[in-house]
Subunit: 221 residues, 2 copies
């Protein structure tokens, strides 16, 4: 036993309750009062155990990665890159559609746009999303090295395409998409999987700058 008065609540259970709230209402949409209420503790206990609202969020984020979002590293262990991608979509749909927790992915729902106070949280989420993308890219790079994927495939582009569809599915989930609909999207997305002997075909079409009037449209950024 540590020393002083023992903690009367389960830290992990409290963290789970906080995770669910952040997940459903986003960082800014979750108040301390709602948190302490759902966690069943008082504010000083929360601050003693987790530091602050922001630190609590980041710890909930860690828990999210380790638990409900563990499908990602798991999927990447599939024998082939294609199977990994398929398992990735399947796992993401299972998580996103799980009625035991909110719809969508915390990395997306947590905060895309926010006020100045939540800028740090927003950047952290962006960093984690990039991390997920990197994990997938590395899997594809290994697949290329092993001859599992054609050598002319760009692992970075392929990974970015996959996660873009994943993030899009999270947005769709927030709009009430059904499991069947997401499965159809995933099937569609897998149709452009690179087959051996294909070109990576880089087109680079010119962009038309005439559609928007007031907000002018530059060529590059």
């Amino acid at each position: 036993m540590p020393k002083g008065r023992p903690r009367e609540f389960d830290t992990d259970k409290a963290l789970d309750a906080a995770l669910l709230l952040f997940w459903r209402h986003g960082y800014e949409g979750t108040s301390l009062a709602a948190l302490t209420d759902a966690m069943g503790i008082n504010t000083p206990s929360l601050y003693a155990a987790f530091g602050s609202k922001e630190m609590l969020f980041k710890k909930a984020l860690d828990r999210y990665i380790q638990k409900p979002a563990s499908y990602l590293p798991n999927a990447l262990q599939a024998p082939t890159a294609r199977q990994a991608a398929e398992k990735l979509f399947r796992g993401a749909i299972n998580m996103v559609m799980n009625p035991r927790h909110p719809d969508g992915c915390l990395l997306v729902q947590g905060a895309l746009a926010s006020g100045p106070v939540a800028a740090s949280v927003r950047k952290e989420l962006s960093r984690r999303r990039t991390g997920a993308e990197a994990l997938i890219r590395q899997r594809f790079e290994r697949a290329i090295a092993a001859g599992d994927l054609p050598a002319n495939v760009d692992a970075e582009k392929l990974a970015r395409y996959i996660v873009t569809v994943l993030w899009g599915m999270s947005v769709q989930a927030a709009g009430g998409a059904t499991r069947a609909q997401l499965e159809e999207v995933a099937a569609m997305a897998m149709r452009c999987w690179p087959e051996p002997g294909e070109q990576s075909h880089h087109e680079e079409q010119p962009s038309d700058a005439a559609s928007i009037e007031i907000y002018s449209v530059p060529r590059t950024r």
Copy 2:
């Protein structure tokens, strides 16, 4: 001239300023103080002209649809469905990457998750996203009727796939994606465009329910 004292500010310019703020910081992340500051007016003027924060948001949303997001209906006027889709991606990238306004799409950045007070705004955004999807679906349905798209193509699925990639690109934009990266994603997405004589191939693979422990994974929802 109406009757009483004339308004001293340009309603449309004020609305534009509000739109930019909502776009960058989301509905909840934008405070009345920030709004009145950016719009150059006092709170009572805002309430007299726009009603409330929520009504102001919805009017900014209307303006968003009519101005920067007008690329969508414009793109759908392209002669073929494929050209429409390509123009859609090009227009979306132009808008999302325009340095004159925040990154991403307001329909996504505005509010995916939120506190209870912003639930109405969240639903409204979801409704508008569905509306965009429906617009694209109808274009594809016309293309099928005209023989432009193969008859075995499912317009609804194809439209949902396209918008899913679009929403995903909005998330990517929030994470600092570059124009070139988004163009690569769009090119990738267009690779699974249905060619004549293709199957719509419905696979329906079983989902594995073993990856997540605490949060159990049901089969259907």
